[in-house]
């Protein structure tokens, strides 16, 4: 029986529950003569260091020395890409930036030593916000850009709107803070134990700072107590300080940030500022969108550039953007250097496009989920960077399946009923999709390496380049190796990640840990199994291809030999029992200059439905229920993957609702501890929480047909933000329900103020319209009868629509009039809506009751000129449509060809009744818009 695909226990399960699983800082008792390090912290966000005098510090008892720039023999810079992070800065670039480090026998001694260091500064003006950075042209990158299509189409879009959105960052708050231990080993080499996602880069930076070749430095990571991207580059500095101290003193050195230090010294998820202009058709098809994204990169570049690229790659989320220009730029501010965080810039951009989708829906009077689905990618569409969207059908399957399993339509009605019955408590419901590209966008990182050692007794050590941070990588790799060699999991021992076992590795990041390292381990195991097959063939008297490995036994043609015996035989026959494995992701490339390529090996898809309840007096909310359907391919480890989905979602909910980073006007982090920075806890888990995987979803070209799962679920939390918006919107009591927006995170305060605004904006307006159109002016002045006579025909056979909006005069524009009428239809009872739909003639039929306007529109579409076959086909489909849904097929035909109409009919026939009812109403709105434009 294979282990892949089964819910096997976690590789370190026993260690975790007994406290025996060790993390970096658990090792200090093993290092006699250990020194502790504490930084000298600059009190300004931006300043020149004019004097540094450490002499008083070394007089403190127990203080051995103070590390300064004078101790650096190599290059005193820890910048991972651009070398822009001086380890001992002459110019302070963020509040509390360390300028020197005291080393002492005890932590308390090091603190006292650091306090005695005399540092004098000349304070300089600091840039603390994205807006200031833009105004002062303080950037870390040039503008990055992806574009396609003709944005000019926006000028004729039925709906054109613009907006701005501020999106907060996020503190990683990995429970294990940054920590490193370094010592000089018996050969004079430097050994570093580091809580790092990227041991090879930590090795590189340590070697750089010490002025050593990399083979002199060994970095090991046992495991991490969480990382989430925060230890991809930002573990390096602390390892470098520890190594520098060990090199200088010859004693082991420990650097372990306290929580307060960690929060004030390390980078976070980037805050973003976004502006957008979007054009939509009246039925909610996105026609063009222009986006500007600015990220707050902090003081140095770090990974901000690839993070911004990923934003540009994900500004489409799941939607086909026919015409788009997305420009992103990283701002330089005097703050911590913001860095990787689960999603890597994707989440911020996806929040923006989801904002655009809901805004469009509100303005068009359409249900947001309808607008979303209408814009989904179709199989073989391409993205704005030219990659074909493979698997787009999966998203549609997920969407419709989740719609049913979550009972979306029924609960929509229940939520609406609840909201009608409650004045001060409202519920909100939303469904949102997520498409996430898998691969490092820098192609060369997409490689994995492994070293598998089989011993003569059949036991196995597996080394690979990936690090374990709680994502379950080691458990999955163990399953893969056990299956490849056909041995029980207990025979496989996963070794801690070390740079002297597997060199030149990539960071464990981009959700690609299993894809890359799992494939490399599988490669190594298969090589060994291949060699063993040849040996076994001799023993079993068969062809090597007939040899099977399973359950610790090697067999062929009914005969078998224990795996351990085979290993011993192979050794005696001088066959090597170890192998290196390698994997490189095929067919990925991207040209940043052209903005074109295939940066992703595949896309991971998912969707979530969330329901919330909001208190109008306080803005406080509850998460009532979330249903998730995620595409994880053929899961290697379903228990682990489910945990990733649940945990990623909860972390996303934290980011979008309560985790708020605040800096004061001097650049000091005001939310610098667990007591001021609110983390998701028990109450942020939805009260009802369903997580399912898309079935039969093997992903071609990936190890075991599995799919990456680390990052994608985080973005499903956008459903909570949208559900909150939906609830806020329903606090609107006036006739004109305005679009609702609020910045992120949607803290209870923000929600409270958003509710206030919705309520205020709905008070009857007394403003007089400015320069209304002549036709409008007449309508605004008309009495009820005149008004209805002029506009009663706009909605087929339904003068009540005009009648009901009459009291809302004056209208400032045709758009406002149209919006009001559409809202009135949306508010009408289901019966009235159905009557309105049924008032329309069947397309292509000379219905007796058809109005003149309908006749003209259909003639315009050339329906009269259809061939007899075409006409018959249309009639048959039409009849089928009417039988299924109980109302005629409606399509705003103006400007459409008969083929387009047929195509729409075919496409819409398989939909659900509720879906099509909403679609039909949307089409009626669009028809009304045409009529208004011509008639007024």
């Amino acid at each position: 029986m294979t282990l892949v695909g089964r819910p096997v226990p976690h590789e370190s399960a026993r260690g975790h529950v007994t406290g025996e699983a060790l993390y970096t800082d658990d090792l200090l008792g093993r290092l006699p003569g250990l020194l502790h390090a504490w930084p000298v912290l600059a009190p300004h966000a931006h300043a020149r260091l004019v004097r540094l005098d450490v002499s008083a510090a070394t007089n403190e008892p127990g203080v051995l020395t103070v590390l300064t720039g004078d101790d650096v023999r190599g290059e005193g810079d820890t910048g991972p890409t651009r070398h822009d992070e001086p380890l001992f800065p002459a110019e302070v670039m963020f509040h509390r930036q360390p300028v020197a480090w005291a080393l002492a026998d005890t932590l308390e001694g090091a603190r006292r030593g650091a306090a005695r260091v005399v540092a004098e500064y000349e304070e300089l003006p600091a840039i603390l916000t994205i807006q200031d950075a833009i105004a002062g042209e303080s950037f870390l990158t040039p503008p990055l850009r992806l574009a396609r299509g003709d944005l000019g189409v926006m000028t004729t879009s039925a709906l054109r709107f613009e907006g701005e959105l501020s999106i907060g960052g996020q503190e990683h708050f990995y429970l294990e803070t940054q920590s490193a231990l370094a010592w000089i080993d018996e050969t004079g080499g430097v050994v570093v134990q580091s809580s790092t996602q990227h041991p090879s880069e930590t090795q590189e930076i340590v070697a750089r700072v010490l002025g050593l070749a990399r083979h002199q430095v060994t970095v090991e990571c046992l495991r991490m107590g969480g990382a989430f991207g925060g230890k991809e580059t930002q573990a390096n500095t602390w390892a470098a300080i520890a190594a520098l101290g060990a090199a200088k003193t010859g004693r082991p050195v420990r650097v372990r940030l306290t929580r307060a230090l960690d929060m004030s010294l390390t980078g976070k998820r980037h805050p973003y500022l976004a502006r957008y202009v979007a054009g939509f058709s009246a039925t909610g098809e996105l026609e063009a969108v222009r986006l500007w994204l600015w990220s707050d990169g902090g003081w140095s570049l770090d990974l901000s550039e690839p993070i911004m690229w990923r934003s540009l790659f994900h500004c489409d989320n799941a939607y086909h953007l026919p015409a788009v220009e997305a420009i992103g730029r990283v701002c330089r501010t005097h703050k911590t250097s913001q860095t990787a965080f689960r999603g890597f810039g994707g989440p911020q951009a996806m929040v923006v496009i989801e904002e655009v989708m809901t805004q469009a829906a509100h303005r068009l009077g359409l249900p947001p989920h309808v607008v979303r689905e209408r814009n989904f990618y179709r199989e073989s569409d391409t993205t704005q960077y030219g990659q074909t969207v493979e698997g787009a059908d999966r998203l549609r399957t997920i969407w419709s399946t989740l719609g049913e399993t979550s009972a979306f339509e029924r609960r929509r009605a229940q939520v609406d009923a609840f909201n009608r019955a409650h004045l001060h408590v409202k519920r909100g419901l939303a469904i949102t999709p997520a498409k996430f590209g898998i691969s490092f966008t820098a192609a060369f990182y997409n490689q994995g390496s492994a070293l598998v050692l089989v011993y003569r007794d059949g036991s196995v050590q597996v080394n690979h380049g990936g690090t374990e941070m709680g994502q379950g990588l080691f458990t999955k790799i163990r399953q893969i190796a056990a299956d490849s060699l056909g041995v029980p999991a207990e025979w496989i021992r996963l070794m801690p990640t070390r740079t002297d076992k597997v060199p030149n590795t990539s960071a464990t990041a981009a959700s690609a840990g299993t894809d890359l390292n799992g494939a490399a381990v599988d490669d190594a195991c298969r090589q060994i199994a291949g060699r063993l097959s040849a040996v076994a063939a001799g023993h079993l008297d068969c062809d090597p291809s007939a040899v099977r490995f399973a359950g610790g036994v090697v067999s062929a043609r009914g005969r078998s030999i224990p795996f351990a015996d085979l290993c011993e035989s192979a050794y005696r026959e001088r066959v090597p029992l170890f192998a290196q494995g390698f994997y490189r992701t095929p067919d990925i490339h991207f040209d940043p200059a052209a903005g074109r390529g295939r940066p992703f090996h595949y896309f991971a898809y998912g969707a979530a439905v969330s329901e919330v309840e909001v208190d109008g007096f306080t803005g406080a909310y509850r998460f009532l229920r979330t249903d998730i359907l995620q595409d994880v391919g053929e899961s290697i480890s379903p228990v682990i993957d489910r945990g990733q989905v649940e945990g990623g979602f909860v972390q996303g909910v934290g980011w979008l609702t309560l985790e708020e980073l605040l800096w004061d006007d001097r650049g000091r982090l005001a939310t610098g501890g667990a007591s001021t920075y609110k983390l998701p806890s028990w109450t942020e888990v939805p009260e009802v929480f369903h997580v399912d995987f898309l079935p039969r979803a093997a992903q071609p070209g990936v190890i075991s047909g599995s799919k990456a799962v680390g990052e994608p679920p985080l973005m499903l939390a956008i459903s909570v933000r949208e559900a909150l918006r939906d609830a806020v919107k329903s606090f609107s009591t006036g006739s004109n329900s305005p679009p609702v927006t609020f910045d992120s995170p949607a803290t209870p305060e923000r929600i409270f103020f958003a509710i206030q605004e919705v309520r205020l904006r709905n008070r009857p307006t007394t403003r007089t319209p400015t320069a209304p159109a002549t036709g409008l002016a007449r309508l605004n002045a008309a009495d009820r009868a005149g008004f209805v006579a002029a506009l009663g025909w706009v909605f087929e056979g339904s003068p009540w629509v005009a009648e009901r909006v009459w009291s809302q005069r004056p209208f400032t524009s045709l758009e406002a009039l149209h919006t009001s009428m559409v809202s009135e239809v949306a508010r009408a009872s289901r019966e009235e809506q159905l009557q309105l739909l049924c008032a329309h003639p069947d397309l292509g039929e000379r219905a007796r009751a058809m109005s003149d306007a309908s006749l003209d529109e259909q003639a315009g579409a050339g329906l009269g000129g259809l061939s007899p076959e075409g006409h018959r086909g249309l009639q048959e489909l039409n009849a089928e449509y009417r039988r299924k849904f109980g109302f005629p097929f409606l399509y705003a035909v103006k400007g459409s060809t008969p083929d387009q109409i047929l195509e729409a009919l075919v496409r819409r026939l398989p939909r659900s009744g509720d879906e099509e009812f909403a679609e039909a109403l949307a089409q009626v709105s669009r028809i009304a818009r045409f009529r208004l434009e011509e008639g007024v």
């Binding site: 399960a13 429970l175 991490m224 667990a674």
Partner: protein
């Protein structure tokens, strides 16, 4: 340097402890028990939770001196002769951890809860463990594990 004597996981310990030492540092640095973790340092995350005379205490804010003459139990003291405590077993069965850093404190917190409330409701579990943060977000499984552990312990008492 003040002298301190206390019991840790059933064994008595005595020694000199520097003034101002936190209980967590005493356990980790002087006694060598690494199970309890330093998470936030301000008693807000629960990673450092140990039992002091049966009560769950945040060892990162408790002075070592406050444990004088008291019985301390850490996660290392829960299993007997290699046999896991039912709460530990339940955490494995439910796979109620990801990175595992909060797990020792979470388990000790759950043991304290079940000692005073043998069959807690889900909301009682959430309430009792409210001071524990799991940044990986394994909360649903932790509730499941504690519920299962309570049931297992009840069966153990009957059997």
């Amino acid at each position: 340097m003040p002298h301190l004597s206390l019991t840790v996981n059933g064994r008595s310990w005595r020694g000199d402890v520097p003034e101002g030492t936190r209980l967590l540092d005493l356990l980790r640095d002087q006694i060598g028990l690494n199970g309890a973790k330093l998470g936030c340092g301000e008693g807000q995350c629960g990673s450092c939770t140990v039992l002091v005379d049966g009560r769950a205490v945040a060892a990162c804010t408790a002075p070592a001196a406050s444990a004088a003459q008291k019985a301390i139990v850490t996660v290392e003291g829960l299993s007997e002769d290699g046999r896991l405590h039912p709460v530990q077993q339940a955490f494995i069965d439910a796979q109620a951890f990801q990175c595992g850093f909060c797990t020792p404190g979470m388990i000790v917190g759950a043991v304290a809860l079940l000692a005073r409330n043998a069959s807690p409701t889900d909301s009682e579990i959430k309430g009792a463990l409210d001071g524990h943060i799991c940044r990986c977000g394994t909360y649903p499984r932790i509730v499941e594990a504690v519920r299962a552990a309570g049931a297992a312990m009840a069966r153990g008492r009957r059997g």
